[in-house]
Symmetry: C2
DNA sequence: CTGAGACTAGACAGGTCTGTCTGGTAGCGT
DNA sequence: ACGCTACCAGACAGACCTGTCTAGTCTCAG
């Protein structure tokens, strides 16, 4: 009930295995295309154990989204550069590198949102929460860099990020990489 | 195999009803969440009739994507403004207006791509084709306007478009609208 | 030793999925 | 009158879906 989204409820090995397996399959194939049976088979876990840790599939999806968000936050924490400006560049460079990888399948948040139309759904709210964090990260970095219009530019960077994750999934990575670079120089110059 | 994507194979009323119903339900709820039974019930069509016109659900999805593309191309054709520059502005203004509507649920191409991971799948190829048209539209308009770097700027506009369709689905429309406006002035100034 | 909790294996219910098949009706060109 | 095609209604097969349940194993704290 409490808002302890950061801590895992229980670090059970079976639960962890389920969550990792689900993340892999959900990301690679989509949420609705992967059934519980396949997840528990791949994770080597009994069905009763799964339903012991997760009350429903939707809750597993929610946990998957929350875990992806936590992983991204942790990742950003590791690549603090010398200046806010360089940190910002490092964030986008990382996203480009990740997007160019062979296993890239788009942004888990955007992809999952496409499968959950109702904005009031818990899964969608978890996605919205992560988006807010993302925008705030940009705003804080811009403000720390002394940017004149940090608020509006943060919105722009979120838009660029969304275009980035879609483009790397659907278009030629090398082109998108160059496009992102050029876009950043154009929108950040001021 | 030919490139006659514009013409419908057969203008049968039942087929049209199925395609329109499928488009509405697919867009509102996602492809995998809507079954054939619901589509034919809502369209008032017998199952045999459906499979008479469409060999499989995947082919229906492909037709849905192709039809969305044709509709977008037709829509752009109607809003030719006085100059290429104004036409470009009108295209983005239209997307913003559409994205601000209450029934907006994101871009059908992006959303459907999220449910079809395999890039070699016919549905994904239909999506890629539409994206190419979109990029070429931008490039041609920019070139006709005498833009110095039409190719690279077209890539940027496609990226902005992707950010736009995602943002209108997941964030506050008024904010996204302003963000798009500001982004365009920044990336087009040169 | 006892009892609680995490775990495994797998049957089961009730529903939905895609796709096929049967059988019958209505219009239409020849 | 004939055959062709489009269409309707709905049963059916076989697979898969989520979620529940039974029954038993193992570990560990007290």
């Amino acid at each position: 009930m409490s808002a302890e989204t950061a801590k895992d409820p229980r670090p059970s090995p079976a639960r962890t295995r389920v969550l990792e397996t689900a993340a892999r399959l959900f990301y690679a194939e989509g949420v609705h295309s992967v059934g519980i049976d396949r997840i528990i088979a791949a994770a080597g876990v009994a069905k009763a154990t799964f339903y012991h840790h997760f009350p429903s599939k939707d809750e597993l999806v929610r946990a998957y989204i929350a875990e992806q968000g936590a992983a991204q936050r942790a990742m950003v924490g590791t690549l603090r550069a010398d200046s806010p400006r360089e940190t910002l560049a490092a964030v986008f460079a990382f996203m480009c590198e990740f997007g160019s990888g062979s296993g890239y399948r788009g942004c888990p948040f955007v992809n999952t949102a496409a499968e959950y139309p109702d904005p009031a759904h818990p899964v969608r709210q978890a996605i919205a929460e992560h988006r807010r964090w993302h925008r705030d990260l940009y705003r804080d970095l811009l403000a720390a860099d002394g940017h004149a219009d940090a608020e509006r530019t943060a919105d722009i960077l979120l838009l660029v990020r969304d275009g980035l994750v879609v483009g790397f999934d659907l278009d030629d990575p090398a082109t998108v990489r160059a496009t992102v670079q050029e876009t950043l120089t154009r929108v950040l110059t001021r």
